[in-house]
């Protein structure tokens, strides 16, 4: 589904991604871990199409198509969803109107008829249950004055509404207490299916207790330096990142 090959990206003069290689197939959950500043969030942002980064080398193909050529909205329409580490507050735009616009734009791109108000509300009610989000929150302006947990829950709610094929969760666990974490993780798990894939970007293993990955990759200094099964996450939790750093310094 997603094929990243020798991806290099920089911001200003600073190279952040130094040659990422990653294959993600339908039905898989990949965790990307690593110490702060290793490039995890950059990778997530580059995949979603954030324009602050310059791609200096490499390619990303999504279902065989060149992802890097696409505008962020095209990527969304192709089925990519980024759950933001810091969801943006947008005063004056109601969550409901925003989501209806987004959903219908994506449907239009795919040649589907737009949902009318009744159909949309029905879908919304259904998905609200999935992430246990309150109606009053959705009638407010997008993320405005939401608590950290509410913002993250809203991200997962949007994901449920837009039904992406590839979901990228960027530090979704940051700032969440254990109850909020469980609710968010349950929402993600309910959306897991053989047709979809998920990339979970996280610093801590904690989230992976709830969203169990098929593969764990360690990102360090802009490269994936180690990949392994879900047990690798536990090992990292136990031993920290220093042993990996040491291994890397030896190799390079």
């Amino acid at each position: 589904m997603l094929s990243i090959s020798n991806l290099q990206a920089s911001i200003g003069d600073k190279q952040i991604l130094k040659g990422i290689n990653l294959e993600v197939n339908s039905g898989e959950v990949h965790a990307i871990m690593g110490p702060n500043g290793s490039g995890k969030s950059t990778l997530a942002s580059v995949l979603a199409g954030r324009e602050d980064y310059e791609i200096t080398n490499g390619s990303v193909r999504f279902d065989g198509k060149d992802l890097l050529e696409m505008a962020p909205e095209e990527r969304a329409a192709q089925g990519i969803f980024l759950a933001f580490q810091y969801p943006v507050e947008i005063p004056g735009v109601s969550t409901t109107n925003f989501l209806r616009t987004a959903l219908n734009e994506i449907r239009k791109y795919r040649g589907q008829d737009p949902l009318d108000a009744v159909q949309f509300l029905k879908l919304m009610k259904e998905k609200m249950k999935l992430v246990n989000i309150d109606q009053t929150l959705l009638s407010r302006a997008l993320n405005e004055g939401f608590s950290g947990g509410e913002k993250k829950r809203n991200e997962i709610f949007q994901m449920a509404m837009l039904e992406p094929r590839l979901a990228i969760l960027d530090e979704t666990d940051s700032g969440l207490d254990i109850d909020a974490l469980r609710i968010v993780a349950e929402g993600v798990n309910k959306l897991r299916s053989p047709e979809r894939a998920t990339i979970v970007v996280t610093h801590y293993q904690r989230l992976l207790d709830y969203i169990v990955p098929d593969f764990v990759h360690v990102l360090y200094k802009g490269r994936i330096v180690k990949s392994g099964p879900k047990e690798l996450a536990l090992e990292l939790e136990e031993k920290g990142y220093d042993w990996i750093k040491a291994e890397v310094e030896e190799t390079f």
């Binding site: 199409g49 969304a76 969803f81 005063p91 925003f98 989501l99």
Partner: protein, 441 residues
């Protein structure tokens, strides 16, 4: 004399001559107090002349384009059914008065409020039938000593509206004043003059709407004086949707007595050159004044909002929010003065001006001016000018909303803060639609 000043003086001299010629044709009328006042205003206009950019209050607003045009200041004419139809605001109920090239047209207008609630006559009519009322209010508030355009209007204005709301009356139907300049055949100028007197404990909503028909140049120089007695509540809206060849210069002068409440919304949708002065004197205790503004210039349009709140007495409150979205090569000016007089202790005064500049060729000049002479006050001001929030734009796009739509959505949300202040539903709906159209252009 520099060549650029030539046109200023030509137009001024032409106007002064026109006044004197008209004066000679008068009979006893020239002896009336009203005419004496007009003559003083004309002399003041003659002394002041049209302001150049060397004038501090006109530093960023250059009226040379205006002075180079030749206008018909006495154009008559009415609107045929087609033109009238095109101007309709759907579902709008109210006392709707039409003015064509500045002249009141009763046959196009309808007044629905009973006379017990609302006394409303054209200014031209009031001058004939109620000179005492006119004399006791006319030009008592709007200063013509320092403002050439107000002086010009005071000298020449011959129509507009005089509204009087009796004590303890709530006018339940809004007053809508529609000023239409018909520039389809020739360049036209109009100088409307309005007087709104709200009695004790009365309540009224007045909306002024300005439109231009046709492609010729149009000039409106308007003055509205609003006088609020104790406990009066007045909402005043000004909506400008003029042509790309129109000049609008307007002053709204407000005087508030104790416990009165004034609420103002100014929306500038279109117009080549716009200068709005909103001056509020809080001449009483426990007054409240709210000022909202929205301006959306594009192409080479220029919109200048000058506001002044004069806290003359203690314990009053003023709050101001102006917002602008500037495109293309447009320019904007916001100048917000707050005076707090030595007596005006316990004043609360807030001011904010926020702008989104969408093009590197557009520019916005903001100048908050606070002059505080009392020591126990709360005042704040802030201005921001910047691009659309890139992070918000990316967020919306990452959810599948195309760039142009995402931009419109953000701009509309930005403007919505001000539009939501309009309390006449049909006007709000109508403006929302125009704003959406203009922003998605």
């Amino acid at each position: 004399m520099t060549p650029s000043n030539q046109s200023y003086n030509d137009l001024k001299n032409w106007l002064v001559t026109a006044f004197r010629e008209a004066e000679e044709r008068m009979n006893g009328e020239s002896k009336t107090p009203l005419h004496q006042l007009r003559r003083q205003a004309l002399q003041q206009f003659d002394r002041l002349g049209f302001p150049t950019v060397k004038h501090e209050e006109w530093k960023y607003s250059n009226v040379s384009g205006l002075t180079k045009e030749v206008f018909d200041f006495n154009a008559d004419g009415t609107l045929e059914a087609d033109a009238l139809e095109e101007l309709q605001i759907p579902n709008l109920e109210g006392n709707i008065l039409y003015f064509v090239n500045g002249n009141y047209h009763p046959e196009l207008s309808r007044i629905v409020s009973p006379a017990s609630q609302l006394q409303i006559v054209s200014f031209a009519e009031a001058v004939k039938t109620d000179p005492e009322l006119v004399n006791s209010y006319f030009a008592r508030y709007a200063d013509y000593q320092d403002n050439a355009f107000t002086a010009l209007n005071t000298a020449f204005a011959n129509d507009g509206v005089v509204v009087r709301v009796p004590d303890n009356i709530t006018v339940d139907t809004p007053i809508i004043l529609r000023y239409i300049n018909d520039a389809r055949e020739k360049n036209v100028a109009a100088q409307p003059r309005n007087l709104i007197v709200a009695g004790r404990n009365s309540e009224v909503i007045v909306a002024e709407s300005f439109r231009t028909l046709g492609e010729r140049a149009s000039f409106v120089n308007t003055v509205t004086e609003v006088v609020l007695a104790q406990n009066a509540r007045v909402q005043h809206y000004k909506v400008q949707n003029d042509s790309d060849k129109s000049y609008h210069i307007g002053t709204t002068q407000v005087n508030q007595a104790d416990n009165s409440h004034f609420y103002s919304v100014t929306v500038t949708l279109n117009g080549s050159f716009v200068r709005n002065n909103l001056n509020i004197v809080l001449d009483g205790q426990h007054c409240e004044a709210f000022m909202y503004g929205l301006y959306l210039p594009d192409s080479r349009q220029h919109v200048d909002n000058h506001t002044l709140v004069d806290h003359a007495k203690p314990n009053s409150y003023s709050n101001e929010l102006y917002k602008g979205i500037l495109k293309d090569r447009s320019t904007g000016v916001f100048n917000g003065k707050i005076f707090v007089r030595p007596d005006a202790q316990k004043t609360n005064a807030y001011q904010s001006c926020k702008n989104v500049v969408l093009s590197p060729d557009a520019s916005m000049n903001t100048k908050p001016q606070l002059e505080i002479f009392a020591d126990d006050v709360k005042c704040s001001h802030g201005t921001t000018t910047g691009k659309l929030d890139e992070e918000a734009l990316f967020y919306l796009r990452s959810r599948g909303i195309p760039k142009a739509e995402a931009q419109s959505l953000l701009m509309y949300a930005f403007a919505g803060d001000v539009l939501s202040q309009l309390r006449i539903g049909p006007i709000k709906d109508y403006l929302e639609r125009i704003v959406v159209e203009k922003l998605s252009k």
